[in-house]
């Protein structure tokens, strides 16, 4: 008679977490940052059509890292959740907190109940009328939720990228005023663009501050979007590399 194969819940959870965490760490970091003009979302993405950053609703944007098919399915589900809620009630009744809850429950169920957890990490950004009212929710592969305000980084090397942005003077102090959009874009380009060389070249590790002229083409590899604080309805705007270069000039 064979002995039933026993795995303790601790071990099971740990194995699943390690598996999912490894998948997420392979994804390039996405930065969500409050600036004076609105919220900036940016990541290194060589593809022009497979987006990691997208519009969810009037004042809410979505960012996902990890497995593309998994966060893409979650993005579409989020659009459906938001549009249905806005249609059934009113557009002002759609908020990022409700969406974060729905995502957290879904990811939590998948983490424990499915053969394989989702290898994703999500961020929901909600732009406020004033910088102090900005909200970011960070949702992990196991359904854990953290809320932040001014600066959230998800994906691989998140802590290095956060440190790099702090070093560039962006939200270095907890209560510091939001930087102008130009400063935010320059700091993001400076911090994110060395990331591709990280594996080969320790000197160019993310977070290492270096002087990079915005004209140097650093923006061409970035996928970037702005939640425009002054917009009356849909505030999500994708920024092309030439728009970023223009906006980054002080």
């Amino acid at each position: 008679m064979t002995i039933p194969f026993y795995v303790s819940p601790e071990q099971l959870t740990k194995d699943r977490s390690d598996f999912a965490r490894a998948g997420v760490a392979r994804g390039r970091a996405v930065v969500v940052l409050s600036a004076a003009e609105g919220m900036v979302l940016a990541t290194v993405n060589p593809s022009r059509s497979l987006h990691k950053i997208a519009e969810l609703y009037d004042r809410i944007a979505f960012a996902g890292v990890g497995k593309y098919n998994e966060f893409e399915a979650l993005r579409r589900a989020g659009v459906r959740y938001a549009d249905l809620r806005g249609y059934a009630y009113d557009r002002v009744d759609v908020d990022a907190r409700g969406l974060a809850g729905a995502y957290a429950e879904t990811l939590g169920e998948v983490f424990t109940g499915h053969p394989k957890p989702f290898e994703v990490e999500l961020a929901l950004a909600e732009v406020g009328d004033v910088p102090g009212a900005d909200r970011v929710f960070r949702i992990g592969f196991d359904g854990s939720v953290q809320d932040g305000e001014a600066l959230v980084v998800i994906g691989g090397h998140a802590s290095e990228v956060t440190a790099g942005l702090h070093a560039a003077g962006v939200h270095a102090a907890p209560d510091s005023a939001p930087p102008p959009l130009a400063t935010a874009l320059r700091a993001i380009a400076n911090t994110l663009v060395p990331a591709p060389d990280f594996a080969n070249d320790d000197a160019a590790a993310p977070g290492t501050s270096r002087s990079l002229a915005p004209e140097s083409g650093a923006y061409s590899t970035l996928e970037c979007a702005l939640l425009d604080r002054t917009a009356t309805r849909r505030s999500f705007r994708r920024l092309t590399s030439s728009q970023m270069v223009e906006l980054a000039v002080e």
Binding site: S49, H51, A54, E55, L56, A73, R76, A77, V79, R80, Y81, D83, L84, G86, Y87, A88, G101, A102, Y103, E105, T106, G108, E109, R234
Partner: protein
């Protein structure tokens, strides 16, 4: 509440998704569960005349502000012209409640598609989608609760404005110059026939649209002319290369004053 299977299904239509998840939020007209029975006991308000016309570089849509129940006025401030998305407009005539619901659903449908797919629908795609929505409410139309929209927008691929008219069965027809629908449409179309000409600019097109509504109101009791006393003007929208814009009230007030002044002059001068 975790997101159930329909949230992860294929498809980019909001209507199909809402039917699967929450059919109760949709008007009965769009769920093919239209109630049997007669509306004669309690007739709903009817929205009346809307017009649309092209000009060099854009199009203008306008609607009067009256809704009626039988011979009574149900509303003198109803709006019948709306943005469908950033570069298109929809105007509606017929049963007011259903018409406004059709507009709301169409707006969400277009935005939903754009967000899910990452690209907006083509103008022809939008026009066809609206035809499908109108066809969906055919059951109620047969009971006398018809809704008939006019759709128009800036076609980026053609670099030109285009107008589409519909019938209650969802039939879609492209209009090259101008169109009017609703109870006063016959008079509005007659007016547009005389006033419309090629090469009009935007202000001339706005004036033509308002003149057509004034002419419709002259002969149709269910259509209201500009209400100078209460300063209630028709809703007039322009759509051009730069998108949808509602014409502001001061411009409308001035245009209405000009039209009335011209017509008064004609009357005084005539023998």
């Amino acid at each position: 509440m975790s997101l159930a299977a329909p949230y992860f299904a294929d498809g980019s239509s909001f209507l199909d998704f809402a039917k699967a998840v929450a059919p109760d939020v949709l008007a009965a007209a769009f769920t093919r569960e239209a109630q049997q029975g007669s509306h004669d006991i309690c007739p709903p308000p009817t929205a009346t005349t809307v017009v649309a016309l092209t000009y060099a570089g854009g199009l203008v849509m306008a609607g009067d502000r009256r809704a009626t129940i039988g011979t009574q006025i149900a509303s003198r401030e109803i709006e019948k012209v709306y943005p469908a998305d950033s570069h298109s407009a929809i105007a509606v005539a017929g049963t007011a409640g259903l018409a406004i619901e059709l507009v709301r659903l169409f707006q969400v449908e277009l935005e939903h598609y754009e967000k899910i797919e990452g690209n907006p629908l083509s103008l022809d795609g939008k026009a066809n989608r609206l035809g499908t929505l109108v066809r969906g409410s055919l059951g109620l139309a047969m009971q006398g609760l018809a809704v008939v929209p006019v759709f128009g927008g800036w076609d980026r691929s053609a670099g030109a404005p285009r107008i589409f008219s519909y019938d209650v069965t969802g039939g879609r027809y492209e209009e090259r110059e101008f169109y009017a629908v609703g109870s006063g449409a016959v008079f509005a179309r007659g007016s547009l026939k005389k006033l419309w000409h090629t090469g009009m600019d935007a202000p001339a097109a706005v004036a033509t649209a308002i003149a057509a509504l004034i002419d419709a109101a002259d002969d149709d009791a269910a259509t209201a002319g500009p209400d100078v006393g209460r300063a209630i003007w028709p809703v007039v929208a322009e759509v051009d290369r730069d998108g949808y814009r509602r014409v502001p009230d001061p411009v409308l007030a001035e245009t209405v004053a000009q039209i009335f002044a011209e017509r008064r002059t004609h009357m005084v001068e005539s023998p």
